[in-house]
Assembly symmetry: C2
Homo-oligomer: 212 residues x 2
């Protein structure tokens, strides 16, 4: 079983490298957006796309979900080029699924690609998709012990963002603990704070992802 | 691969049946508590345990997590007999892990056992643990499209509860849509509403789980 798991992960990494090479050859910046259900991944991508569009960047989003097209519909309603990707039962996207999605996108007309992973804090960690950056989105309602509970995904991601900062006043959580746990896992790193609802912190997040 | 997955699931169901038989032979009622991170599973179990204890029931909890012992510590601080179960990398508990946990519990001194599954809405669905009931806990911050996005777990669970009802006034969500999606998946079923923070709805939830 260990040999088999290793093969799957190695094959995924091989395909991820191919995806990254293709995207870079087209000068497209790409971000894998991970996080639990309800952390606000879709809303955050919409906000980032709005800011990027206002700066003349052409943005597309791949909506990854087990089933359904709720996130895809939200992207389309917001005027974002989007593609829906259902995993069936899998709790994460993988590089192979993304490879096929890239065949369906007009890569020559694109500057930035967001890939919204399946809402899950465990599974996506092991499966890079071949993006420049991996972002993990958390929310204050997930509790101040959640970084400590899921070190793998924070270790794998290039940046972590605490979204829904507008909810902080009504919740009883220790923001300092989240920050301390995060900077223990990724030396010197700081949590970005955003509110996809109010738009706060979006420019700073785009800067940290080298998108503006 | 399909053959292999089927074998794993069949073996899990076999062990689940053994667990259920053991628990029933000891007259212990048991609940598998599933839900995403931050839905409030731990806090809800603590509240239910408090009410059950006040009625003279002896309660224990198994805290399932990928890593760490945060939930276990919360149970212990609340005075609940508890056992910590780390999955390592797996995004769900399984009947084999629970079988071993049962060996470490004093089953003769127990009336009710809660098993808190790993915080995840996808993976636990396929792996019953051998409990009388399976409960799925959701929170209004997860959005009103989340039942539609994760039909499998709502289909597998005996009861769904929307926790954190105290947050409803500050969130912009369509409670009617959640309810409609849920009763579409499980004919005639209604979402229970609780607040582990204020204690609202706990007695009703215990009733629906046949625990009081």
């Amino acid at each position: 079983m260990i040999g088999m798991e290793t093969d799957v992960l190695a094959e995924n990494r091989r395909l991820a490298a191919i995806n990254l090479h293709l995207l870079r050859s087209k000068k497209i910046r790409s971000v894998d957006v991970m996080g639990s259900i309800g952390s606000g991944k879709t809303a955050l991508i919409v906000r980032m796309a709005m800011v990027l569009s206002s700066k003349g960047k052409r943005v597309a989003a791949i909506a990854g979900d087990v089933t359904g097209d709720d996130d895809y519909s939200i992207f389309r309603q917001a005027g974002i080029s989007a593609l829906n990707l259902n995993t069936g039962k899998e709790c994460h996207l993988d590089a192979h699924l993304v490879e096929h999605a890239l065949e369906d996108l007009k890569l020559d007309d694109l500057d930035v690609l967001f890939i919204e992973n399946v809402g899950n804090l465990v599974c996506p960690a092991d499966f890079p998709l071949g993006t420049d950056k991996r972002l993990v989105v958390i929310s204050p309602t997930e509790g101040d012990d959640m970084v400590n509970k899921h070190p793998m995904i924070f270790l794998e991601a290039d940046q972590a963002v605490l979204n829904k900062k507008d909810l902080l006043p009504v919740l009883d959580i220790d923001l300092g603990r989240l920050q301390r746990d995060y900077s223990k896992i990724r030396k010197g790193a700081t949590l970005q704070l955003t509110s996809a609802k109010t738009g706060e912190g979006i420019e700073e997040l785009l800067l940290s992802l080298d998108l503006i």
